[in-house]
Each structure stands twice: as structure tokens, then as C-alpha cells.
């Protein structure tokens, strides 16, 4: 999963939670008996654990997990809050902060927390906190955390290690961490062991092999391996096992093992022994260091990009958009004033302002753009699931997921796409057997494609399935009364294909819960049209179908043509206008009670807007009529108006929750003079 988009949120929230932890821990120090405070800390730690695990920061998750365990013990009164205990918890919080800051600075959030984890574990299991007696020793313990005592060996095992070392074999102690949500831990353990056994001999593991097989461990286990493979190879091979998140391999020398054993035998001599051990360990640490640097340098290459962006609340962008809309309205007003006044200087200023607001408009609209990826993301899983439900083999290809669209469009487009994809899977792609018999590959392909073109975004869904069966569709359409038999004969293949978008249509012989009862595609069409878009279908029987959706880049500011009807002004979206014309009354013909004109060889029905909108005035008999020719798909209509005012960019506003779905009105806008003009919904006027 790509989590980079949540990174900033993660960092902010982590900081908040750590801050809360710190505050509450300080309070807890003052009131050690207050369980409520422990609960607070626990909650923060828990959230942090969940977030960091999701984001893949294992060290943070690991440390918080241990911290949580300790807190849980306190909560359940099995542990008492002591200064020593708090010290360790504070160290843990400090380290967490360090890691979060590292992530914020572009690092990978890795930090050696084994020492603190161990201490926390010790507390949890009831052992006393090893209190550092002197500062010298403290540094030593920190150093030795690089070579930890992961495993203890008995004499027999030691002999084996000794012998293998003499024969130039290496002994490694290996730390393996599985994903927290790993489901088949035993299986992963088996895979790890199998790999290791190919490379050498496993001489010990902790927990024991039996326990590992029973999945009786958290996410971490340790293995001792004797092999002649180099250290890095072992590590890399183990990382190949899926759901293994972390592998640390450390070489073991006989001296170390002996000192370790002696440590346990004589704790009195500990200090001296450790001191002897130090030089060797430094060589070990230097060996580890470059590797670590390498690790952290890779993600650092990404940092410049994160520093160049800031996170802005979407609401603020909406406010900005609203303010800008006001500005557009005022710009319109200024333009109309300057036209009336005809003052050269004013004209110039207004002209300049118009240009600047135009640029501003582009910038603001761009800020609201969101890649369609946010919608496309969920489809691969959905297709996988559906394909399984339908017993079909389907491969989904997603192309152009980075194409950007206005956020308002993005919010709306999800459901229609789901419908269309379901439709393609259910009705389009045939079952593997059918496909095979037709000489197609068993696996069907559905391509989801998005791209920009001009002022529009296209989203296409293409499948290589059965395509649309003309006869079947026509038969159904006739039986449902969607088209008459006479009309059906004249329809082109494309028109037939588009019949499946009509309401009350379903070609599936068996109604499945996948693509419903044919209401789906009807809804798809209405939704897309309400977004100011169009949908087209082209299909070749036997080869597949292509659903092509055309959407405007933005919804909030549109170009319209203002027209006058009596005293009233209406706006017609430029996107549906083909052209304007002036016609004579004598050019109007009558056909089946419908007034039509012959326009460039085509018969175009006329719609008298004053009648449709019941414009209050005495009817006038004019010689000439102004006509706006609009289209909806392949159909055309001529809207008769009184006069044209001109073209303008306007801000689309809704009529509010009280007036929903007014006939042939898609919204309103505020004109330069402050009055409201209604926007004509041409789609409703063309039948």
C-alpha cells in the first residue's frame, strides 16, 4: 500500500500523541496511583502503535507495543509505578520522538531500540530494571546492544560452534521479525527454516522449534545458524520470505560466546569482562554502521518533494473558492459598468483585472484537482472479488490513474464507475469456457483508462468480452416499450448500444446481485449528465465494448451564453451550444404539431423558451427569431429566445435544498448586476 499520502498526517498525529504521553507520564509521576492517567498514556501508545504499524515503521510499533504491555500491567495492578519504571518509559518516549522526527526529516524512522525494548520486557516480566551503576557501564550497555545476547547456548552447542568456526564456517545469530498481522506464522517460520537449512545448519532457535510451530510467539524469533555464506546474503535471502519485515544478522565469535557465558556465571566480574569485550564490539559496530547509513540514505532522496508541499485543509480551499467566486461576480459587474461608462482608463484597468483573475482562476481550479487514483484505487480489489464470485478470470488494467479531476467531480464519479465495471464483468466478459470455445484467452481483460483532452477528462472502460448483441437489445427494448419496432430498424449500432442506458433495461437473462436489475446503467447516465458529462458506448459483437465518459474539468465555473426572455435573463451552458442563428418566421415549418426548422439540411425541432418557462408578457409577433442550437448526444434542438446578450464565465450555484429538481433548470448564477439568472438544463429540453 502506498502510504506516502498519509505521511504528514501520521507525523502530526504521532507528535500529538507523544506530547500527550509526555504530559501524562509527568502527571503520573506525581500521582503514581492514578490509573486514569495510565489509561490516557495507554490510549496514546495504542493509537501510535496502530498508526506506525500501518505506515510500516516497525521500530516504533515494536517499542510502543512493549510500552503498551508495561502500561497494561500497571493498569491491571500487577506492576507499581516506580521512578525506575518511569525512567525506562520516558526513555522509550524519547526514542519514539527521535524516530518520528527522523521520519519527518525524511528518514526511515529506524533506531536501535532493542535495549529499551529489552528493559521494558524485563519490567513486564517482573524482573528488576538493570540500573546502570556508573556512566561507564551505561555506555557499554548501549554499545553492546549492537551485539545482543539473543541466544544462550549450552556446552554442546558451544562445541558445535567452536568446531565450525575452526573449519572457517561462520556462526550468525539471526533476528527475524514477521508482520504483526501475519496470519500463517508457522508457515513463514517453516519457510525461513527451509531457507536457512539450505545454507547451513540451524543449531538453535528461540523460542524453541516446537513453540515456533505452534505459533507460540509474538512476531519475533531468533535463530543461530552455522554456514559458510556471507552475512549479507543470509539477510537478503531471508527478506525474500513474504511477511518478514525485518531481518538482522550478526556474526558471533567464540570469544563473545564465552564472555557471555561467563557473564552469567560471575556477575561480579561483569564490569571487567565487558570492558575487555568492548574493543571487539567497536569493530562490530563499525561494521554495522555503513550498512545502516546506506539504508537511511535511500529514502532521503525523496525529502525535497515533501518539503515543497504543504497540507491545506480542504475546507480552506473551499472558502478560497467561494471568495474567488465572489470576485468573479464582481468582475462581471465591473465589466458591465465599464462598458456603460466607456472610460478608457477604467476599461484598461478592468481588462487587466480580468486577465489576472483569469490566471487566478486557473491556479485555484488546479489546486482543487485530485488524481482519479483516489477513485481507481478500490477497483482492483473489487474486480478480484467479483471475478471470483462470478467464476471468471479477469485482469484489470488501470491506465492514467494520475489524471486529475476537480474534487467535486471525483466525489460523484465513484458510483457510476462501479456500476460500469460491474456491468463489464457481469455482462461483458464471458465465462472461461465460453471464451475458450470462441478462441479467446481464458482470462478476460478490462481496461480502465483516464486521460485529458481539451477542457475535458475522459474515463473509459473497455472490455474484450461478448460485446452488445444488437438483436437481443432491440428485442428487449421493444418488449419494454423503450422503442417502437419501426424506429428500431432505423437505429445505428451505436444508438442500439446506448439503449442499454435507458431506464428499466436489463439484458442479463439471469438477474444477478452483481449488476442488479438494469437500474444501474440508467443511474450512471443520469449521474454523469448531472455532472455536465456525457457517456457513449461503442461495441463490436464478439469483440468487446467501450464505455467512454466525458467529463468537464470543473463544475464550479462554467462558460454560458446569456439570453433574454422578456424581462428575464437565462444562461445556457456553452458546452451544449452548437451555434446561434436568426431565423425568419416564414422559415418555421410544422411537422406533427411540432415546429421545426430546416437547419443545414437537418430538421431541427424548435423549443420556445418563453412557453416552456411561462414568461409573463404579452405575446409578440416578430418577424425574426433568435435561436440557440443546442445538442444532446446526436440530437439537436433550437431554443427560441428574444435576444442574445453575450458570452460570460459564471459561477454555478445551486438553487438550495428547498427547490430541488426544478424542470429544465440546472442551477443559478449571480450576474454582474447582482441579480440571479437561472441556468437552462438543455438535456431536459431535448426529447
Amino acid at each position: 500500500m502506498d502510504t506516502s499520502q498519509y505521511l504528514e498526517m501520521f507525523i502530526e498525529e504521532s507528535k500529538e500523541h507523544l506530547q500527550a504521553c509526555n504530559e501524562h507520564l509527568l502527571e503520573l509521576e506525581k500521582n503514581p496511583e492514578d490509573i486514569a492517567i495510565v489509561n490516557e498514556v495507554f490510549r496514546s501508545a495504542h493509537t501510535l502503535k496502530g498508526m506506525s504499524a500501518t505506515m510500516g515503521y516497525e521500530d516504533i510499533a515494536n517499542l510502543t507495543h512493549k510500552m503498551e504491555n508495561v502500561l497494561d500491567e500497571i493498569r491491571n495492578n500487577r506492576l507499581h509505578v516506580t521512578a525506575d519504571l518511569l525512567d525506562v518509559v520516558f526513555t522509550a518516549v524519547d526514542q519514539l520522538e527521535e524516530m518520528v522526527l527522523d521520519i519527518a526529516a525524511g528518514g526511515n524512522g529506524k533506531l536501535d531500540v532493542a535495549d529499551t525494548v529489552q528493559k521494558l520486557h524485563a519490567i513486564e516480566t517482573g524482573e528488576e530494571v538493570p540500573v546502570a551503576a556508573t556512566t561507564v557501564e551505561e555506555t557499554v550497555t548501549v554499545d553492546s546492544s549492537n551485539v545482543q545476547n539473543w541466544l544462550n547456548y549450552d556446552d554442546y552447542e558451544l562445541t558445535v560452534i567452536q568446531q565450525s568456526l575452526e573449519q572457517d564456517y561462520h556462526t550468525y545469530e539471526i533476528y527475524v521479525k514477521l508482520r504483526e498481522d501475519c496470519l500463517l506464522k508457522a508457515a513463514r517460520v517453516y519457510m525461513v527454516f527451509e531457507l536457512l537449512e539450505k545454507m547451513g545448519d540451524v543449531i538453535k532457535s528461540s523460542p524453541s522449534v516446537e513453540k515456533l510451530e505452534e505459533e507460540d510467539f509474538d512476531e519475533v524469533f531468533y535463530i543461530a545458524l552455522v554456514t559458510n555464506e556471507p552475512k549479507d546474503d543470509v539477510q537478503k535471502k531471508l527478506m525474500k520470505v513474504s511477511e518478514v519485515t525485518e531481518v538482522v544478522v550478526q556474526a558471533v565469535t567464540l570469544e563473545q560466546l564465552k564472555t557471555r557465558q561467563q557473564d552469567e556465571l560471575s556477575k561480579v566480574e561483569e564490569e571487567k569482562q565487558v570492558a575487555v569485550q568492548t574493543p571487539e564490539q567497536t569493530s562490530e559496530t563499525t561494521e554495522l554502521q555503513p550498512e545502516k547509513k546506506e539504508k537511511s540514505s535511500a529514502p532521503k532522496g525523496n525529502t525535497p518533494t515533501s518539503s515543497k508541499t504543504i497540507r491545506v485543509n480542504i475546507e480552506r480551499l473551499d472558502v478560497l473558492m467561494n471568495l474567488f467566486e465572489e470576485l468573479v461576480i464582481d468582475r462581471g459587474r465591473l465589466q458591465s459598468i465599464s462598458e456603460d461608462l466607456r472610460n478608457a482608463e477604467l476599461d484598461e484597468t478592468v481588462e487587466r483585472m480580468s486577465r489576472i483573475t483569469g490566471d487566478l482562476q486557473n491556479i485555484i481550479l488546479n489546486m482543487r484537482m485530485v488524481p482519479v487514483e483516489t477513485v481507481f484505487n478500490r477497483f482492483p480489489r473489487m474486480v478480484r472479488q467479483l471475478a471470483r464470485d462470478l467464476n471468471k478470470k479477469i485482469n484489470l488494467e488501470v491506465i492514467g490513474a494520475e489524471t486529475e479531476l476537480d474534487r467535486t467531480v471525483i466525489d460523484e464519479i465513484g458510483d457510476p464507475l462501479v456500476h460500469l465495471i460491474r456491468n463489464s464483468l457481469d455482462h461483458g466478459i464471458e465465462s472461461p469456457e465460453v471464451r475458450k470455445s470462441k478462441g479467446k484467452p481464458e482470462e478476460g481483460t478490462v481496461v480502465l483508462r483516464a486521460y485529458h483532452s481539451g477542457n475535458h477528462v475522459f474515463i473509459e472502460i473497455e472490455d474484450d468480452g461478448a460485446g452488445i448483441n444488437r438483436e437481443k437489445v432491440l428485442k428487449k427494448a421493444i418488449s419494454r416499450g423503450i422503442v417502437s419496432e419501426e424506429v428500431a430498424l432505423t437505429l445505428t449500432d451505436k444508438q442500439v448500444a446506448e439503449l442499454i442506458l435507458s431506464s428499466g433495461f436489463s439484458t442479463a437473462d439471469v438477474i444477478s446481485d452483481v449488476s442488479g436489475r438494469g437500474v444501474g446503467l440508467d443511474v450512471v447516465k443520469t449521474t454523469i449528465e448531472s455532472l455536465g458529462g456525457t457517456i457513449e458506448i461503442s461495441s463490436t459483437e464478439g469483440k468487446g465494448s467501450l464505455f467512454s465518459i466525458q467529463l468537464p474539468l470543473t463544475l464550479s465555473i462554467i462558460s454560458v451564453m446569456l439570453v433574454e426572455l422578456g424581462e428575464e435573463i437565462y444562461a445556457i451552458p456553452l458546452s451544449s451550444i452548437i451555434e446561434t442563428a436568426i431565423i425568419r418566421s416564414s422559415d418555421i415549418l410544422n411537422a406533427h404539431n411540432q415546429k421545426v426548422i430546416d437547419f443545414r439540411g437537418k430538421v431541427v425541432p424548435l423549443v420556445f423558451l418563453e412557453d416552456v418557462f411561462d414568461v409573463p408578457r404579452e405575446s409578440t409577433k416578430e418577424e425574426f427569431h433568435s435561436v440557440v442550437l443546442v445538442r444532446k448526444g446526436d440530437k439537436m434542438a433550437g431554443l427560441v429566445v428574444d435576444s442574445f446578450i453575450g458570452q460570460q464565465e459564471v459561477v454555478l450555484k445551486s438553487l438550495g435544498a428547498y427547490l430541488t429538481s426544478v424542470f429544465a433548470i440546472s442551477g443559478a448564477t449571480i450576474l454582474g448586476n447582482g441579480k440571479v439568472a437561472l441556468i437552462v438544463d438543455c438535456n431536459a429540453l431535448i426529447i
Partner: protein, 151 residues
């Protein structure tokens, strides 16, 4: 008036329609505006006067007289538009005049007596008697029930 009484009071806006006084709780009132240009919206019920530009927001306006079946409003200088907010919906209602803001004790509000005939009674939530004034409390949710026209 003591504070204890205040708690049981409801603050209302009083307005005139025909010869009666009506009230609506101030919590529903967003503002009172003078008449401005109303853009007619075609194919809507007769009581929908149209929409206005209320500081950049397109707000529908209804003629309350007409809505309550009291005939058409005579728009004049005294006419006001009361902007009412119900949930996420803003609607302006035209009234003859907006008179007052009053505190009326909740216990003075009585349910509408059922003997009164007429169309408007469906929308009356109660009647409050204050001194010699009779104030009619409107049920705004019913009055401003969203309409779907032309469908």
C-alpha cells in the same frame, strides 16, 4: 423579569400577515431583509416567488400569505423577507411587515383550538396569548417542506 422566568421563555420574531400576528422562534431566523429583485423560477408552485441573491448565496423565496392560503401578498415598502434556516436549508419568506422580537413564556402557548376552519391551521403549531395580543406560532417544518416541482 427574573432570570428564573427567562429559562422558560422562548424568543420569537413577530410578523404581520393579513390582519394577524405570527411568530417564529429566533433560533430559526437568520436575518430580516428588505425586498430586493426576485428572479422568478418557472414551473414552481405559485407561492414560490423565485430566488434572490443573498450576499452571494442563491436563496429561494416563498410568499407566506399564498403558502398559508391567505391570498397574494401586496408587496410594498413595509414588506420584509425573513430568512429562515432549517437544518441545512435556507428559505426566505415574504411577510407584510416584521414587527417585533418578543420573549413569550412557554406556558402561555396553547395548542391550536380545533374549531377554527381554514387551510392555514395545518401549519399552526400553537397559539400564544400575550396581554391583548394573539400570536400564532407557525410550524416551520411543515410550511417549508421541500418541494419537487416539474417532476
Amino acid at each position: 423579569m427574573t432570570e428564573a422566568v427567562d429559562v422558560q421563555n422562548v424568543k420569537v420574531v413577530v410578523f404581520q400577515l393579513a390582519d394577524k400576528e405570527y411568530v417564529i422562534p429566533v433560533t430559526h431566523v437568520q436575518g430580516i431583509e428588505k425586498l430586493t429583485h426576485i428572479t422568478r423560477v418557472p414551473k414552481t408552485p405559485s407561492y414560490v416567488k423565485g430566488v434572490i441573491n443573498l450576499r452571494g448565496v442563491v436563496t429561494p423565496i416563498i410568499d407566506l400569505r399564498n403558502r398559508l392560503g391567505l391570498g397574494e401578498s401586496n408587496l410594498n415598502e413595509a414588506s420584509r423577507i425573513i430568512i429562515i434556516t432549517l437544518e441545512d436549508m435556507n428559505v426566505g419568506v415574504i411577510v407584510d411587515s416584521a414587527n417585533d422580537v418578543l420573549d413569550i413564556p412557554t406556558d402561555s402557548i396553547e395548542p391550536q383550538p380545533e374549531v377554527v376552519g381554514g387551510f392555514e391551521e395545518d401549519y399552526i403549531a400553537g397559539v400564544a396569548k400575550l396581554d391583548s395580543r394573539l400570536l400564532i406560532l407557525l410550524h416551520m417544518h411543515l410550511v417549508l417542506n421541500p418541494i419537487k416541482s416539474g417532476v
